[in-house]
Amino acid sequence: TQLLEQSPQFLSIQEGENLTVYCNSSSVFSSLQWYRQEPGEGPVLLVTVVTGGEVKKLKRLTFQFGDARKDSSLHITAAQPGDTGLYLCAGYSYNFNKFYFGSGTKLNVKP
């Protein structure tokens, strides 16, 4: 059973389109992180959000942490082929004292 559910699992879009990836849980997390992973490499941290309702922007990427700290979203504006990769959310649970990773969203941006 996944503590963090990501949707969609796969996303294939054209360059220039917008997209949103969701990360949901029934548990509360003290912080939530988003990673991007390319084939043959380890995940690379994009952002950490720690406050309920927090919104962080990183160029064309917008990250939001839900008010109840149970969910998060990643929105990409005007996607580019370089955005292609596996996007993973990860939450830290004080209750269980560990990080949990979501199942990932595989994004393919076609030129």
């Binding site: 990501q6 380890g42 950490t48 596996l86 830290y92 004292n97 560990k98 990080f99 990932g104």
Partner: protein, 120 residues
């Protein structure tokens, strides 16, 4: 400075053999994590080290899996009597540890490139 390195990058072994996977964390990072990732999926937590001790071994799938860390640096993950279902990419990460036993709720984990294990 150097990032997290892992060796070997690829390992093919026969069912029933033992394998050792190595992780060299970033110098000065006291927390070290092992994860397993199956074919483009999410990461499955295996074990976490704070210094040389492992406060959390709850993710190890069976007693065939063990890990150690010496000198607060290099870690090895050992899988005995490998099975085909052990085939996966094994990822190691390190981070600066915050106070307490948790390793820090917002510490950035820096990942190595992984070891791709194939059990025939």
């Amino acid at each position: 400075g150097a990032g997290v390195s892992q060796s070997p990058s690829n390992k093919v072994t026969e069912k029933g053999k033992d394998v050792e996977l190595r992780c060299d964390p970033i110098s000065g990072h006291t927390a070290l994590y092992w994860y397993r990732q199956s074919l483009g999926q999410g990461l499955e937590f295996l074990i976490y080290f704070q210094g040389n001790s492992a406060p959390d071994k709850s993710g190890l799938p069976s007693d065939r899996f063990s890990a150690e860390r010496t000198g607060g640096s290099v870690s090895t993950l050992t899988i005995q009597r490998t099975q085909q279902e052990d085939s996966a990419v094994y990822l190691c990460a390190s981070s600066l540890a915050a106070t307490g036993t948790s390793g820090g709720s917002t510490d950035t984990q820096y990942f190595g490139p992984g070891t791709r294990l194939t059990v025939l």
